[in-house]
Amino acid sequence: MSKEILDSNDINRAIRRMAHEIIEKNKGTENLCLVGIQKGGVVLAGRLASQIESIEAGPIEVGALDITFYRDDLNTKEEQPVVKRTDVPFTITGKTVVLVDDVLFTGRSIRAAMDALTDFGRPAYIQLAVLIDRGHRELPIRADYAGKNIPTSFDDLVEVVLEEDNSKNRAVLISGQ
């Protein structure tokens, strides 16, 4: 059984609000960059960046981070790893890096992302922005910016579809039973 939990309007509103929160918390956009986690976080990071740019002047640097090599489940996962592109074409040392992902679940991806990120440099701050926080954390990690908190059961699946050209935006909860 699946039901839509966010439609296109909900998602756009959430992104707008998060963009304002990021600017407010960091008192502007100086020294700020966004890094999206492959695969779901990359398009979202791009959207957040253009939203932030439309509020405050100046281009925001955006990178993409693949965390496959940093995962802790190479031997336990059923499916085999597929490596995606990592592209962080700017220095992150001394910057405020906002990690962006679509769904925050156990927190293990974020742990891996922080390890991956620190191999690129030493950010002054790492913050976390997610579209959906679905709970069930296994590590002491929380989001600084969350689009929506959605209660789920552990076996559920949350699927976020964000097309790059904005043609399709939705989040679906697929029930585990």
Partner: protein
């Protein structure tokens, strides 16, 4: 997706598996360009090399690949080991497994040794060259290098010049290139051409000029110098005259053709120095790419369900 936890040869791989390894390798290539060239996925695993034939580059390449994946690498030195005291290769391998290793990188002068070991071992066996049979990671790094320059394999014409009969590099490349849809030409003296090689789907040339004409990739192979003393060749000079890759001959290939060699090179025997060091040569890139490709192999085999 990769089906076997062993890498015994290209013959055993599907085109899909080959592309999956190459895609993964390009992720590792990016890692190798960073300041911190190390990632953690094989932490706590150990890789042992068991080489019954001399090798520096392949062994070093595997060692660096293992270390950059955060695995431990140990070289089992055959010349100082109990192998020379008469231990069988199976017993040696089982001993290494009992020491707790996860991967064994094997090179042996006899074809089929990695296959033999894979039947008795729980750990992953990677073939680093078995006799005249295969050298799969060399073919994978060659494909990776070709892809980097040509963006495709299908439809390319690749000319392999050298001692086809004794070359495991040639064998693995023939399997790999034909599986991915390249046109493969083999060029060598009749004494060094295996019988019925056409059955592998290659075109046979005895004239280097004709074989190189309009090709996209020229791959020269190392000529083992003892072939002359065994009577396969009249002289090394004559081999160079007929089969050596010279600047003149290279002009017959396409203008943007690349020149490859698995190393170590005999300059003035199979390749002219000006070609080896020339703008079309990608020989040193092959070496660099070898690490990324071997990282991909170790990484993917570690993820195969035991």
């Amino acid at each position: 997706m990769i089906k076997s936890k062993h890498l015994l040869g290209i013959k055993e791989l599907s085109a899909k598996e080959i592309y999956h390894i190459l895609d993964t390798a390009s992720g590792f290539k990016d890692v190798l360009k960073r300041d911190i060239k190390k990632v953690p996925p094989l932490r706590g695993k150990s890789v042992v090399s068991l080489f019954f034939e001399p090798s520096t580059r392949t062994k070093t390449s595997f060692a660096l690949a293992a270390k950059r994946l955060s695995a431990d690498f140990v070289n089992f030195s055959v010349s100082t080991s109990s192998v020379i005291k008469g231990e069988t290769i199976q017993d040696t391998a089982l001993t290494i497994q009992s020491l707790g290793a996860d991967f064994m990188i094997v090179r042996h002068a006899s074809s089929g040794v990695p296959h033999l070991l894979s039947n008795i071992l729980e750990m992953s066996v990677i073939n680093a060259g078995d006799g005249a049979n295969e050298h799969p990671t060399q073919a994978l790094l060659d494909l990776f290098t070709i892809l980097a320059h040509k963006k495709r394999i299908e439809g390319l014409t690749v000319s392999i010049i050298g001692d086809i009969a004794h070359s495991r590099v040639a064998k693995s490349n023939i399997y790999a290139l034909t599986k991915l849809g390249a046109n493969v030409r083999v060029i060598c003296p009749p004494t060094l051409m295996p019988a019925e090689i056409e059955k592998l789907g290659v075109d046979v040339f005895h004239s280097t000029d004709k074989g190189v004409k309009n090709c996209d990739v020229v791959m020269t192979l190392r000529l083992q110098l003892e072939r002359q003393s065994k009577g396969f060749l009249p002289s090394l000079e004559e081999y160079f005259n007929l089969y050596g890759l010279t600047s003149e001959r290279l002009k017959l290939a396409k203008d943007d053709a690349i020149v490859m060699h698995p190393g170590p090179m005999n300059r003035g025997v199979e390749i002219e120095s000006a070609v080896a060091d020339g703008p079309q040569s990608v020989i040193l890139e092959q070496v660099t790419n070898g690490i990324a490709v071997r990282m991909a192999v170790l990484y993917l085999l570690a993820g195969v369900k035991k």
